[in-house]
């Protein structure tokens, strides 16, 4: 196993594990205020210190992981669930009006500055995790549509597909039974990349107050709260940021590692 794959898997497992663990246990409750304990630096009692309400930072980071991972994961799900069928349909009818319509629609979504539109959507329909998911998910659709179309197009010319067509299978059935399993690797790799981008996007939206709303802890929200206290207690700004960086880094390394493993020819050539 490559170093990338090992480190990526470890980091991803750490944060996913912390998020899952937070459902049943956190070192301290995250909804109780203890003003006497506020802004304490990391110590034996509070490994990562406390925030401006005296809440344990480690507990907040664990629960925050839940928010980030949930938002990004569902957003990837939207991209996969809508983008892949669209891409497969476009490839099956390559050159037809459906292909043209789907691809032009993709170009259009790509042309929009995603951050601005995400901000517009969450601002108009109200801030919150659900609208953040929709705003991030919409931009995942063309990514997966384009990827699956491109990969499917080259498969359609292969002999085993021709055999399936000769056997009388319909295009949707061929797409589901023969094309999809063959492009699954690519989709998994792209999925981890979109997952990490989703975590960054969620953090940005929460930071400007348009993501998950208090009292639900989220990493971006913690950074926004920390902004005015960064001089007093730098750890409140450093820790949530490190959590984001390590999670995103882990997912990117995992994506790279998986790609190299699934397609060793690419190896070091592609950055």
């Amino acid at each position: 196993m490559s170093r990338n794959l090992i480190l990526g898997t470890l980091l991803t497992a750490l944060f996913v594990g912390a998020a899952l663990l937070s459902f049943v246990w956190t070192p301290y409750p995250t909804d109780t205020v203890a003003i006497t304990e506020r802004l304490q630096p990391p110590s034996a009692a509070h490994w990562l210190g406390t925030d401006h309400f005296g809440r344990d930072m480690l507990s907040l980071v664990m629960v925050g992981a839940r928010t980030s991972i949930a938002v990004a994961l569902v957003a990837v799900g939207i991209g996969l669930g809508l983008g892949v069928p669209l891409g497969l349909a476009a490839a099956a009818r390559s050159g037809g009006w459906l292909d043209e319509a789907i691809m032009r629609m993709n170009d259009l979504i790509f042309a929009f500055p995603s951050l601005v539109i995400a901000i517009l959507i969450t601002a108009i329909f109200g801030p919150g995790a659900t609208n953040a998911i929709i705003a991030i998910g919409i931009f995942n659709i063309p990514v997966f549509a384009r990827l699956s179309r491109g990969a499917a197009l080259s498969l359609w010319r292969r002999e085993f597909i021709l055999a399936a067509r000769t056997a009388g299978k319909s295009a949707p059935r061929i797409s589901a039974e023969h094309i999809l399993p063959n492009i699954a690797n690519l989709l998994i790799v792209q999925g981890t990349i979109q997952f990490s981008l989703g975590i960054l996007a969620e953090a940005g939206l929460s930071y400007v107050g348009l993501g998950a709303q208090p009292p639900i802890p989220s990493w971006g929200r913690m950074l926004a709260d920390a902004q005015t206290m960064v001089a007093l207690a730098p750890h409140v700004a450093i820790i949530p940021g490190l959590a984001i960086v390590l999670t995103v880094l882990g997912l990117n390394l995992l994506g790279d590692g998986l790609r190299d493993r699934l397609d060793p020819r690419l190896g070091m050539v592609r950055a």
Partner: protein, 314 residues
């Protein structure tokens, strides 16, 4: 080339038309009536109705859309509900911060990425390459607003080299530039990481080409071949990414402006959103989308001009 340009121009026009419709409709279905919002909860219904008529909010949807679009085409972005000032004027003031910031960040990103990418490609697989690639992995993973906070912590609060936020205006260009330095660095870092990776992989791809082997056979050293033939050819994909990055930087500045309290387009959008100043939201978002679509168009054309194969392929 002309046919290709016309085709791209047609797509550009369609994109802009659809974008304006989408933005208008999204803002249209927004809950909350700007007139009631401006007058407060104690306003009498007839006063609200009068203000709605004054703002043109009582007109049918399609008439308002057409009025908005035709106004924009003529440079009239409407009048802000809350400030009672022309939106075009407000935008013009804010662009003086956001545009230089994006350009400054683009310059920094290019200045960091080019040497880093070339350095890594020339030492492919060696410790130097691994170090640069490791740094870019980290750079891609860092949220720029968090990096901005760390820069403030170090350079503004601890070392006191820069101010922690605000913008003094362009009366003294050096002071203006200084105020934009930390925001530009924060914006540039993740972009530089991406650009360095693109530069490296473009160069590595090119170093396998026959013309590099020919150049080496003619007696050029590895380094000479890399500089004379490699870098120049690698610039084509790299320039495309730079074009895309510019629009990303312009839009990405929205969040960075929040960190540094910069009076740019980003802060204008957020203020307008909280005040339900929908005409400002609509117009600024449309302007940003316009900038992105136009930059993409120009990049496409430049790309096709440099690489004739593209014109035929599409």
């Amino acid at each position: 080339m002309l046919a290709y340009a016309l085709k791209r121009l047609f797509i550009l026009a369609i994109s802009l038309a659809v974008a304006s419709l989408v933005i208008f409709l999204v803002v249209e279905v927004a809950p909350g009536d700007p007139a009631s919002f401006m007058l407060g909860i104690n306003a009498r219904p007839d006063t609200v109705a009068a203000l709605r008529a004054e703002l043109g909010l009582d007109l049918p949807v399609h008439e308002r859309y057409l009025a908005w679009v035709s106004g924009m085409v003529q440079g009239d972005f409407g009048t802000s509900y809350t400030y009672r000032a022309p939106v075009a004027q407000m935008v013009a003031e804010r662009v003086q911060v956001s545009l230089p910031l994006a350009l400054y960040a683009l310059l920094l990103s290019t200045l960091i990425a080019f040497p880093a990418g070339i350095f890594a490609a020339a030492r492919r697989g060696k410790p130097g390459d691994v170090a640069v690639m490791g740094a870019t992995q980290l750079g891609v993973a860092v949220p720029n607003f968090w990096f901005a906070m760390l820069l403030v912590l170090l350079f503004a609060l601890k070392l006191r080299w820069f101010s922690a936020g605000g913008f003094p205006g362009w009366d003294d260009p050096l002071q203006g530039l200084k105020a934009l330095t930390l925001p530009a660095v924060a914006l540039a870092l993740p972009q530089a990481a991406i650009l360095a990776r693109v530069m490296r992989s473009a160069l590595i791809d090119i170093l396998h080409e026959d013309f590099i082997r020919t150049a080496r056979a003619k007696g050029l050293s590895r380094r000479q071949a890399l500089w004379r033939h490699g870098v120049r050819n690698a610039l084509i994909p790299v320039l495309t990414i730079i074009g895309l990055q510019f629009s990303f930087l312009l839009a990405g500045a929205i969040i960075i402006e929040q960190v540094f309290f910069l009076p740019g387009l980003g802060r204008l959008i957020f203020q307008a959103i909280t005040q339900r100043d929908l005409i400002v939201v609509e117009s600024v978002v449309m302007l940003l989308v316009f900038a992105v679509i136009v930059v993409t168009f120009v990049t496409d054309l430049a790309y096709a001009a440099v690489d004739p194969r593209l014109r035929r392929r599409r």
